[in-house]
Amino acid sequence: MSKYPEYSHTKSREWFDRALKVIPSGIYGHLGPSEGLFLPLEKWPLISSRAEGTYFWDMDGNKYIDMMCAYGPNVLGYNDPEVDAAAAEQLKKGNCVTAPSYKMVECAELLTDTVESADWAYFMKNGTDATTFSVLCARAFTGKKKVIFFKGYYHGNDPWAMKADYPGILPEDVQNNVILPWFDMEGLERVWQETGGDVAALIAQPYDHGNFYDNVCSDKEKWQAVRKFCDEHGIVLIFDDVRTGFRLDIGGSDRYYGIKADIICFCKALANGYNMSAACGRDFLKAAASSLSFTGSYWMSAVPFAACIATIEKMKRLNTPELFREKGLKFTGALKKAAAENGFDLVVSGEPALFYLRIANDDSLMLHQEWVAECVSRGLFITSHHNHFINAALTDEDIALAADIAFDAFSVVAKRHPESLIKNL
């Protein structure tokens, strides 16, 4: 008998069926069943009714400990009172106005004070906006074409950042992309030679946090070698800190790895769910940034700036990177213990603040998917293919509850698959 009975999702499913009639795929993208890998669909909540702290509730009233944090934006806890109060106060004063609010200036000042490599900040709405801006800026500054990526990259959904086999993408959209293994210094030199030096930028996430495989942390030495290479060749180094930003280092993940990026992109943790992103850059790129024709209707709205200021100030006060490391280690340690007590080896990789999980000896991930589904259907929201996120509202009690649900889910899977237990392998 399972300690945590499985949830039913009757009402959520009804809402999802309504969504399917009027929205392609019902929920498209990473929050939906397809990209979100809701395997099998009936185990997942689909549509939420509300959220608070580290929890959300679905349309049936089921409560979930949310270790995906909306895939990153929930950094302080859903509905953080300080952030929401700052946003609400600003809303009374004005939001999307012809003359942008002074909050924009305050926000840029705070970012340039906080992010070590930043001399200026440019605001937009999504991570994709920030990475696209950065590549445009690098090309405008250098007058060159090629952009180097590290294998397994994800830098958003604009055509330049995708692959030629994706629907709607033309080979011409990506013809200037060069993909290399992570930290392949010989490859970098080769590309430089083969392109006759026609390289505008190197764009990368701080470490390899790709999907479906163990995440691979970087180190200072490797990043310093890349920094040196870019300096020697006049290549703009773009740090895509959209996912990792403020979770490894309040001063930027480039500082975490002992370097200064030329442009660093932020989004998810920037404003605790209020919609904004930012690219911060070094002084020598400021004129190039000014030259771009790149703007949007809501990019200077004041409410997210107010939320961003409150979020950054609270993250600094809490020292979230240290907190997340500590909570991440505690959380993953508890899950590993639950796995071991049920005869499984749970592999944890990546930075503790953004840990990735998989069950060992399961190269198809089917066993892992089964366990994840049993966790989700009992109130622990995790995924089988993507890294997870810690938020500041996560308490020791939450971790204990999560570990107990994980234990229960492991015991269900263990009964179903005794052949998969370590002792029987």
């Binding site: 392609p24 019902g26 397809s34 099998p40 994706y166 479906f212 198809s364 998917q369 293919h385």
Partner: protein, 254 residues
């Protein structure tokens, strides 16, 4: 944009590849084979393209790679010429067993390929016959599965998807009806028309009607995944890449 070489692979592994399944599933095809007095093995050798041998006898059709065992052979000077045979019935150059080849090509082979076209490109009216509808859907699955590997190994865009696909067997099928395996090894794809024993990923359509709708482009794969009508499991990145190659199959074989 279709690449002629890739189209030749799609035709050889997808369209002609379905002959072995037609001969197994279709009563009219079985009747045609009964007219064969002796087994015939015919090789189609495409310069800068695929080369496969089709072995026919009264019990059915088997396909092997290369020209070994062929008692008649037809060469094509380019992928375009081979594609013309498929699309416009223009034969290539007989280089071995010419008399036997021409007799077979103009007789049973033409009858079989005509029947294949009838099943793969049916009229709306003929699909009202449930048995024929099901046969059409099963043959479509075999054709598509063959074309997936043909294109993964030859189409410049599908090759990108293949280059991002990890090793292992992907099981594709219609629940409780039929399954095929797409085997990936070092980014090379091979279609095996049997159920995978230890698949690394699974993509299973809930029923034959759904499969038919998907093959005809009447419903969306992603939409049906979201509705829970397509069962996915395992290393989904493999299925993602195969889905992208499926888009290419639609382009080439539409």
């Amino acid at each position: 944009m279709k690449d002629q070489k890739a189209l030749a692979y799609a035709n050889m592994y997808g369209v002609l590849g379905a002959l072995e399944n037609l001969c197994e599933l279709d009563n009219k095809a079985k009747e045609i084979l009964k007219q064969l007095k002796k087994p015939v093995s015919i090789c189609f050798d495409v310069k800068e393209g695929p080369c496969r041998t089709f072995h026919f006898d009264q019990s059915g059709c088997k396909i092997t790679e290369g020209s070994e065992g062929a008692d008649c052979k037809m060469n094509f000077s380019s992928p375009e010429k081979f594609n013309q045979m498929i699309n416009e019935s223009k034969p290539g150059l007989p280089v071995k067993g010419a008399v036997k080849l021409i007799r077979f090509l103009t007789g049973p082979f033409t009858a079989l390929t005509d029947r294949l076209e009838e099943v793969l490109r049916p009229s709306e009216e003929s699909l009202k016959d449930r048995a024929f509808f099901e046969e059409n859907t099963l043959l479509m699955l075999y054709t598509i599965a063959g074309a997936i590997s043909g294109l993964a190994n030859s189409d410049p865009i599908a090759e990108i998807s293949a280059s991002n696909t990890v090793d292992g067997d992907v099981s594709l099928g219609i629940r409780d009806r039929v399954y095929v395996t797409v085997r990936v090894k070092d980014h090379h794809f091979t279609t095996i028309k049997e159920r995978a024993e230890n698949p690394r990923a699974i993509m299973e359509f809930s029923d034959i009607d759904l499969a038919s709708g998907l093959f005809a482009g009447k419903v969306s794969t992603i939409d049906e995944m979201c509705r829970g009508n397509i069962r996915l499991s395992g290393m989904i990145s493999m299925v993602d890449n195969i889905n992208r190659i499926l888009d290419r199959v639609s382009l080439y074989l539409a």
